[in-house]
């Protein structure tokens, strides 16, 4: 038992990346002690890896072996490993680096190692990580943590997209100019369109998987998206992203309620907000798209669209927690403000790190955020 029992009882969270040890975990045997004949894959390992990949879960390696061992393990297991850390440091540090590189939170990581000392070290240093022995892992494939409810084309291509992301980040590091210039140089195209029924599985998946960029702080079932798409009182926008490195598909979306004159939603919301207020029920973006101008484009699109339709204010009710600070940064950069925004309010709510809620507002009477020319879509505002 390695924390598996408690993890199973916790809230439904899904693992996005499994970090594997090599010796006696991915491989049957010890790489450096195997002499001429390198160790074969552990029994059934190839099937486990490909099954998890098909569910949209990616793989990484953390090992004290030389990098050649990771190459060998990848080759014999047929696994697609999006990151590998080989070295003598603490495994918890290596896992932290992988989490940062992939931009995945620790509670969306699993770590599999046959060595109880390594498992204890990682459990102690990184409590949110789901730590498993290889025996646990064989069973865990059937657990809810490893069984996302929907698997979209975007999810199945996740491994490939992380590889593109690595190439893009390498290019960015060697690029001299501003981020805007970099996005332009790699042919970034952001496309905003009204959602259709075909987008529903991906919208649901995004709502479940996003935390750093999720205004509601919770997922929405497919049924809810379907009715929102077809309701005249709401609008659902999807955001697609591609560049010369690859096509990320749908990476973001937002759900709006319109109470503009002539489009009153319900008496309640009109009475509460008055005509001319648009309320964003859900704003979300894949963390993979972070730093690529997507959330900025979506917020600018929303503001300009609402203004063109005659609204005076856009309101975004937001969960406020440690996880979605990136969303608050994007809101601040776009000019949104919470009315009760002082430091004292946060302390009154229970101090740093305490979850809360706030409504962020943008007054459309001021200067609207710009939409760059690489952002497009029908009826661009």
């Amino acid at each position: 038992m390695t924390g598996a029992a408690t993890a199973g009882a916790a809230m439904t969270r899904t693992v996005k990346c499994v970090v594997w040890d090599i010796d006696n975990t991915l491989l049957s045997g010890v790489y450096l002690e195997s002499g001429e004949r390198l160790p074969p894959p552990a029994p059934g390992m190839a099937a486990v890896l490909s099954e998890l990949t098909a569910r949209g879960i990616v793989h990484a390696i953390v090992s004290r072996n030389p990098p050649a061992a990771a190459e060998h393990a990848a080759q014999v297991t047929g696994g697609d490993f999006v990151a590998a850390e080989c070295g003598w440091g603490r495994k918890s540090d290596a896992i932290t680096r992988i989490a940062a590189e992939l931009n995945i939170a620790a509670d969306a990581l699993a770590f599999v190692d046959d060595d109880p000392y390594e498992r204890a070290e990682v459990s102690f240093a990184l409590p949110p990580v789901l730590v498993l022995s290889p025996e646990d892992m064989a069973d865990a494939v059937g657990w809810p943590e490893f069984s996302p409810s929907v698997v979209t084309p975007e999810a199945r291509r996740r491994g490939a997209m992380y590889a593109q992301r690595r190439r893009r980040m390498a290019a960015q590091r060697s690029f001299g100019g501003s981020r805007e210039e970099f996005l332009r140089s790699c042919g970034t195209v952001v496309t905003v369109t009204a959602a259709t029924a075909a987008d529903v599985p991906r919208l649901h998946e995004l709502s479940e998987r996003t935390s750093q960029f999720n205004s509601a702080g919770a997922g929405l079932p497919e049924k809810a998206f379907r009715s929102l798409i077809f309701s005249p009182a709401s609008g659902v926008l999807t955001v697609r992203l591609r560049d010369t490195f690859g096509d990320d598909g749908i990476v973001g979306a937002c759900v709006t309620e319109h109470s503009v004159t002539g489009h009153s939603v319900t008496e309640h919301s009109v009475a509460e907000h008055g005509a001319g207020t648009w309320t964003v029920r859900l704003l979300m973006m894949s963390c993979r798209a972070m730093g690529r101008g997507v959330i900025e484009a979506l917020l600018a699109w929303l503001a300009r669209w609402a203004a063109r339709e005659g609204a005076q204010v856009v309101e975004i009710p937001c969960a406020v927690n440690d996880r979605n600070v990136p969303l608050r940064l994007a809101l601040a950069a776009a000019g949104f403000r919470a009315a009760d925004g002082g430091a004292a309010d946060r302390r009154a709510a229970g101090g740093a790190g305490t979850a809360g809620r706030a409504v962020f507002r943008l007054d459309l009477g001021g200067r609207l955020p710009d939409l760059p020319d690489w952002v497009g879509g029908p009826g661009k505002p």
Binding site: F213, E296, V320, L329, A332, A333, D340
Partner: protein, 112 residues
């Protein structure tokens, strides 16, 4: 600009110990310039003035670089800017951020 309470304590005009407080804020400002340069990959950040806005060009702080900046400030100064400042007013300018951090870091960054 900043919503931080107690700004008066770090103001340039405060009487007793103003010299050392100013020196501390200057040191924090320099460190934040370094963090910004690393987060954005742009060495020209080392030369920006204290009254430079962080959002919008030319700094163009966004959700990615902003997250890297806040994470590093938390690590180096043990100050959780996002935890204390809902609207992130502290990020208005380099100077407002340095004042916010300097005021809360106290002597703690000297200890660690």
């Amino acid at each position: 600009m900043t919503a931080a309470p107690g700004d008066a304590g770090t103001g340039a005009g405060s009487a007793d110990g103003a010299g050392s407080a100013d020196a501390a804020v200057t040191a924090v400002t320099d460190e934040i310039r370094g963090i910004l340069a690393a987060a954005t990959g742009r060495p020209e950040m080392l030369g920006i003035p204290a009254d430079m806005p962080l959002f919008g060009p030319p700094v163009g702080l966004d959700s990615l670089t902003g997250t890297l900046l806040l994470r590093e400030i938390h690590r180096q100064f043990r100050v959780d800017v996002a935890g204390e400042d809902l609207n992130l007013d502290a990020l208005a300018t380099l100077g407002s951020l340095a004042a916010f951090v300097g005021e809360r870091a106290g002597g703690r960054n000297e200890v660690s």
